[in-house]
């Protein structure tokens, strides 16, 4: 990374790819979800993925984590072909996936417990990460006692607590109110600055995709494939000023119009089929 | 593994399990004394003999009469009492702890007292079966009728339903699936009551078959009787489950 005099760090050029997605395809029975996905994600890079609902974003993350087997192509992380969930990769699930019988503390501790981290260390790390996502004081609460946003933050803390090198985020802020969402976005960016990882960030929000990503991947079509990869070219660390920069608006408009084309096309096809 | 392949595999493993079970039964039976454990083939042939001689059908009929009468009475009383308890608060408050207590009491403990009061003929046995079967119907009906959505009652009232129409259109249809869950549990309990009363009061029916052939150390016939009770129970439980699903058909997707 190159440091400039104004304290702004330019994004690292996608260095040696940490995640390599090579000709990935997935089918469910007759349904072909996506085809021929090729993408390389650098060691300290955040790649946002946007696309219409049902286009296979979650399925793609599952393939990257080795939770489902692709029907074509492969995913390599650090050169290793992924078949089962690799170490150092953590997922923040769209469905939260909190265990209802565990408290916030125990849910956040889950990954660490499974990898046999000593008790003392677990406690320190868990408390730190609960604090980090702003849930201090809720350690003993059960998931049913939390709002959707708080549950999602617990899931985030659980993933961060394992200090992963790769973070796969599936709409992590989808069920969080607008203010908290903005706070958490910058919070996550701050955490990332202090501990940069490779991150795949799936979202429905175009603003969020542009704000978080070094690149924005737009999925389109049925079966979907990568329609376009847009370099955001925004400086890091990203602060609130980014949101009002001309570049941000430019990229946002671009992504928006790309997605709208698809929506219009779908509408046209629907009309023609009538 | 595709869905169908998985199903096929399960089916063949199930069949294998049945064959294996029968094989083990046969093997153990052939290698133990006949007076303590009969082989599968001996049991099946005993079952055939008892059926052909009319002994099993007679016993089955006698047991089923007791069972059906007991279950019927248990359902009627349990259902009505459950509804009354649900709609009349003072009755519910008063009776709830005693119902819970009777539900938790092993009803077999009351058989000697019933014997003392009612003798050991059909009437006494019927009381035993009813005492076994009434509680699940009652408790489930009560729970169902109490959980009727108040908004639905409001809707019915806003359409100026009379009390009777309210029951017919709202409360009873809503409650029946719960009652049927109770009926399924009651079927199992009435069967226990049936066998227990045949063991301990006047011996007839399937229970009697078990007792007399045990006394004769004729395990082939005992196991045949047990096997037919098992088949009967499985069949009755299947009917119970069918009823439950039928009455709950509107609940799908709720």
């Amino acid at each position: 990374m190159t440091r400039h005099d104004d304290g702004v760090t330019l994004p690292a050029a996608p260095s040696a790819g940490r995640i390599e997605i090579d000709g990935l395809a997935k089918r469910f029975g007759p349904l072909s979800v996506f085809e021929d996905i090729n993408l390389t994600i650098g060691e300290r890079e955040i790649v946002s993925i946007v696309g219409p609902s049902g286009c296979g974003k979650t399925t793609m993350l599952r393939c990257i984590d080795g939770l489902v087997k692709p029907d074509g192509g492969e995913v390599r992380i650090d050169g290793q072909r992924v078949t089962t969930p690799p170490r150092g990769v953590a997922v923040v699930f769209q469905h939260f996936g909190l265990f209802p019988w565990k408290t916030v503390f125990e849910n956040v501790a889950y990954g660490l417990r499974l990898s046999g981290v000593p008790k003392k260390q677990i406690e320190a790390s868990v408390l730190r990460h609960i604090e980090l996502v702003g849930l201090a004081g809720f350690e003993k609460a059960y998931p049913y006692q939390l709002s959707g946003g708080m549950q999602q933050r617990t899931g985030l803390a659980r993933a961060l607590a394992t200090e992963p090198q790769v973070l796969l985020m599936d709409e992590p802020f989808a069920s969080i109110d607008a203010q908290t969402r903005e706070i958490l976005q910058f919070e996550l960016l701050r955490i990332w600055e202090s501990r940069p990882t490779s991150m795949v960030f799936v979202t429905h929000s175009i603003e969020e995709a542009v704000l978080m990503g070094d690149r924005v991947v737009v999925l389109r079509g049925r079966p979907s494939s990568i329609h376009e990869v847009i370099e955001t070219g925004l400086p890091r660390p990203r602060t609130r000023e980014v949101l009002s920069s001309p570049r941000f608006n430019e990229v946002r408009e671009h992504v928006w119009s790309t997605l709208m084309q698809e929506a219009e096309q779908a509408e046209r096809e629907l009309q023609e089929s009538r | 593994m595709s869905f169908d392949a998985g199903r096929r595999r399960s089916l063949s493993v199930s069949l294998l399990g049945l064959v294996l079970g029968a094989g083990i039964w046969e093997y153990v039976g052939r290698h133990t004394q006949k007076s303590s454990f009969a082989s599968f083939s001996a049991t099946v042939s005993a079952l055939w003999h008892m059926t052909a001689s009319g002994e099993l059908p007679r016993a089955l009929r006698s047991s089923l009469e007791l069972f059906a009468a007991g279950l019927g009475i248990a359902i009627v009383i349990g259902f009505l009492l459950g509804l009354v308890m649900a709609r009349i608060e003072i009755v519910r408050t008063g009776l709830e702890p005693y119902v819970a207590m009777l539900y938790a009491t092993p009803m077999v403990a009351l058989i000697p007292a019933i014997l003392a009061m009612f003798g050991f003929e059909f009437r006494a046995k019927l009381i035993v079966v009813v005492m076994f079967g009434i509680w699940p119907v009652l408790i489930n009906t009560l729970e169902g009728a109490r959980s009727v959505n108040p908004e639905l009652i409001e809707v019915a009232k806003s359409y100026r339903s009379k009390e009777l129409q309210l029951w017919g259109h709202v409360i009873i249809p809503y409650t029946l699936p719960f009652t049927m869950t109770g009926v399924r549990q009651s079927i199992a309990r009435c069967l226990i009551g049936m066998i227990a009363s045949e063991f301990l009061l006047s011996a007839n029916g399937l229970g009697n078959l078990i007792l007399i052939y045990t006394q004769r150390f004729d395990t082939a016939h005992v196991l045949a009787a047990v096997l037919s009770i098992t088949l009967l129970a499985t069949l009755l439980m299947g009917i119970g489950r069918g009823l439950e699903n039928y009455f709950a058909r509107w609940k799908v997707g709720v």
């Binding site: 996936g97 019988w101 499974l114 | 207590m101 938790a104 063991f199």
Partner: protein, 266 residues
Amino acid sequence: MSAVPQSAPLVRPFVLNPGVRKLAIRIGTGILLLALWEGLVTWLAPSYVARPSGVARVLPRVVSSAEFRSDAKVTVVSVFEGLGIGVVLGVVVGLTMGRLRDVDALLRFYVSSFFAMPLIALVPVMTLWFGYTGTVRLVIVSFGAFLPVCLNVYDGTRKLPAQYVEVADSYHARWWNVWFGIALPASLPYLLAGFRLAAGRALVAAVIAEYLVSLKGLGYFILYDSRTFHQNEAAVAVIALALLGVAINSAAGFATRRLLPWYRPS
């Protein structure tokens, strides 16, 4: 009384505290039921039939007698032994069936058939296998407790939401983590519901075994005293069994609330 404001009614309407009212209704109903029992028996039944006044008269003597106490102890101990064995086996087999399709296919038929049938039908033939011994009671109680626990744990494990397993997988959970760390806690509510059924069946099985095998215990106490026209004494044992059933049930309810603070029945 000058302190009373003008508008206050002289006699306040009599409103019972709801808790007190509930208790009063329950006690009242209890007294009513006892009176009904006493009246009906006095009126209609032979004099040796149990009635509340008679039970009350013999209660202190029976409860303090060594015979009753040792009989009660035998039954309670064997019910708890059987429940323990049944629950442990039920959890293990239920989990295995829930997680392994082949084991499920292999055993489901047997477990559900034995669950549907009245197990007590096996007691007579079991005397041929185990003799007239306590083994019959232990086996039938354990088996009776095993079946509902096994089926309920199986059911709970089968209904385990796939997303929990997905999370576990993504954190490299091994199979035993999934079985005992995910599937078991997720089916604990089912286990406790099964345990209540198991307790009921265990009690019935124990009493029937004592009747038919003439085993020392509360069941035999009831049978013997009824046959010798000591119905009031027998009733004390019946009440003891009822209390045991209620106690086990309440313990299970208490455990549900204490052990499963996270559980929201839908």
